[in-house]
């Protein structure tokens, strides 16, 4: 019965799920965030309500959906509405506590690019674009970012700002958000396959815990700037056997996202 040790991706999912303890309404993205949110609902956040930008509130997916518009998130949900109402009344209306975002590029202030690599008019790589990300970054009370970390994704300067984070610094961002009446307070945590980052009052991300097996050198090599490290840096707590069992047996038995 001794389980295989946790992979880095599993550590990332478990760490992200634990961040949801006590949260109420969560805007779910597909893929890794979806697994993290479903894990949280089965462990640290049984009261969590799942919102999907496709128009679903209070989803009870019977299987892991491949897309955020899968029929399994509809059947048995509390409410299914038009996207005008979902984005207008639920998200912009300020009813979402946590929004999950992924990123192709992120900078030290949590600003995110999911639009292009290279020049906008003549891109090297055309990425999907905003979708609802730009609105989630502005309207969700706080934003959790989940992504794999590398020197190509953690960059000094993002090629395009799709979703605002702490802009050019914490104070200016807080002032702007207040002035312009944003509901959101911006990014509060970035969970990667190497560790967990939080944001200081200067708006810059700080590594607060390191996954067992990862090293600070590895983190520095996978970060496009000189990263701030918390003086009380700790190892990320190990996943519980039950968390691993849920991921492996219930949430992603095919290992589509977690291997």
């Amino acid at each position: 019965m001794s389980a295989a040790p946790a992979t880095r991706t599993e550590r990332m999912i478990v760490a992200a799920a634990r961040e949801l303890a006590g949260k109420r309404v969560c805007f779910v993205g597909v893929g890794l965030p979806n697994i993290a949110v479903n894990l949280a609902q089965r462990t640290v956040a049984p009261e969590l309500e799942l919102v999907y930008e496709s128009g679903v509130y209070g989803a009870r997916p019977g299987r892991l959906p491949l897309s955020i518009g899968d029929p399994t998130i509809v059947t048995g949900a509390t409410a299914v509405t038009s996207m005008l109402e979902l984005f207008g009344y639920y998200l912009q209306g300020g009813r979402v506590d946590v929004g999950f975002l992924g990123a192709a590029q992120i900078d030290r202030y949590g600003n995110i690019n999911t639009t292009v690599i290279g020049d906008y008019a003549h891109p090297r790589t055309r990425l999907p674009g905003s979708g609802g990300a730009c609105e989630i970054a502005i309207d969700a009370r706080e934003v959790f970012i989940v992504m794999r970390q590398s020197a190509r994704s953690f960059v000094e300067r993002i090629d395009f700002r799709t979703s605002p984070g702490n802009l050019g610094g914490g104070e200016a961002a807080a002032r702007l958000r207040a002035e312009q009446g944003w509901t959101g307070h911006g990014p509060s945590v970035v969970v990667t396959d190497l560790g967990v980052w939080r944001f200081g009052t200067d708006g810059e991300m700080v590594l607060v815990s390191l996954h067992p097996g990862a090293t600070l050198d590895e983190v520095r090599g996978a970060t496009g700037w000189a990263p701030a490290i918390a003086p009380d840096l700790r190892p990320t707590p190990e996943p519980e056997p039950e968390e691993l069992r849920l991921i492996r047996e219930e949430l992603d038995p095919a290992g589509l996202y977690t291997r």
Binding site: L84, C134, W182
Partner: protein, 306 residues
């Protein structure tokens, strides 16, 4: 109430979609009319501006087939899988050949809503401190007349044609949808012409039994096409599942232009219509996509009055 609008897909597309049109085939993941997209390819339409929040595989196919010169969208990908490579090939590098007009999801919803409501703009709290307004100058700041607050505006979107797949309609085009509603209602009301494609044609009495379920009234519909399984590999809630396996397979097909061309030949050009596509899919695929059980909504009572 009024005369029947039931038509074949061939006749509906021939009559209502013209070269150079702006065309919205809407439906967020759910109810995407692949059947209409394929018929547009077969009829060789050119120079279309394709409009969708999420272009999805259908626009990758239509772009690959040469129907389009522009794309208006908010999220460009194969959801949960990867990229739309045909579209990427025409948008990356030094000489993109497909004009992109890009918004966020709420921006696209706001555009359709302004189009449906005949508003000159729709205001929203988005785009602050992003590069999107610089990339798309049609996203503009606007000041509130109360307290000078700044928000952003998007312009109305009024497609020449909107095509919507739905679970059912009557012959006059009164259309009902359940499950994800996306922005179909807004896209239909915003359009000059509307084609509704349905799983089932039903009697007017079925529609009138549950008027709150009606998404699109017949008065704005030009043609009703009956095409069971017409949304595959997208899905129709309660009728069949999303064919996620095909979405995964598309990644490799789309990545290779020759394979993509062969796919278009085999599954679109060489088939006369959707009935042939259904047959070619075969009973095993249809069976695989059947829901695992039923989940009835239950009935509510509107009551008779007089």
């Amino acid at each position: 109430m009024s005369g029947s609008k039931v038509a074949t897909m061939r006749d509906a597309i021939a009559a209502l979609v013209r070269d150079g049109d702006s065309v919205a085939i809407e439906g967020f993941t759910h109810l995407i009319s692949f059947a209409a997209g394929h018929e547009i390819i077969r009829q060789g339409r050119r120079d279309l501006t394709l409009i969708r929040m999420t272009p999805d595989l259908i626009y990758d196919q239509m772009v690959a087939a040469g129907t389009a010169s522009g794309l208006v969208f908010s999220w460009l990908g194969n959801p949960g899988v990867g990229s739309l490579h045909a579209i990427r090939r025409r948008t990356e590098g030094d000489a993109p050949t497909l004009a992109l007009e890009e918004y966020s999801h709420f921006g696209m919803v706001g555009r359709y809503t302004a189009g449906a409501m005949r508003l000159p703009f729709f205001p929203l709290r988005s785009y602050f401190e992003t590069d999107l307004p610089a990339a798309n100058p049609r996203i503009r700041p606007i000041r509130s007349p109360y307290g000078d607050e700044l928000v952003y505006a998007v312009p109305p979107l009024n497609p020449d044609v909107t095509i919507v797949h739905a679970q059912r309609a009557d012959a006059a085009g009164n259309t009902q949808i359940w499950g994800l509603l996306g922005c179909q209602k807004e896209a239909a009301f915003a359009a000059d012409r509307v084609i509704v494609v349905v799983e089932e044609l039903v009697d007017e009495a079925v529609i009138r039994a549950d008027p709150n379920r009606t998404a699109i009234p017949g008065v704005i519909v030009d043609a009703v096409v009956v095409e069971p399984f017409g949304a595959h590999p997208s899905y129709s809630q309660g009728h069949y599942d999303r064919d996620s396996r095909f979405y995964v397979e598309w990644e490799a097909i789309s990545r290779d232009p020759e394979r993509l061309d062969a796919w278009l030949r085999e599954w679109v050009h060489d088939l006369p219509d959707r009935a042939a596509y259904r047959e070619k899919l075969g009973p095993e695929t249809l069976a695989r996509l059947r829901p695992t059980g039923s989940a009835p909504s239950g009935s509510v009572d509107y009551g008779r009055y007089g």
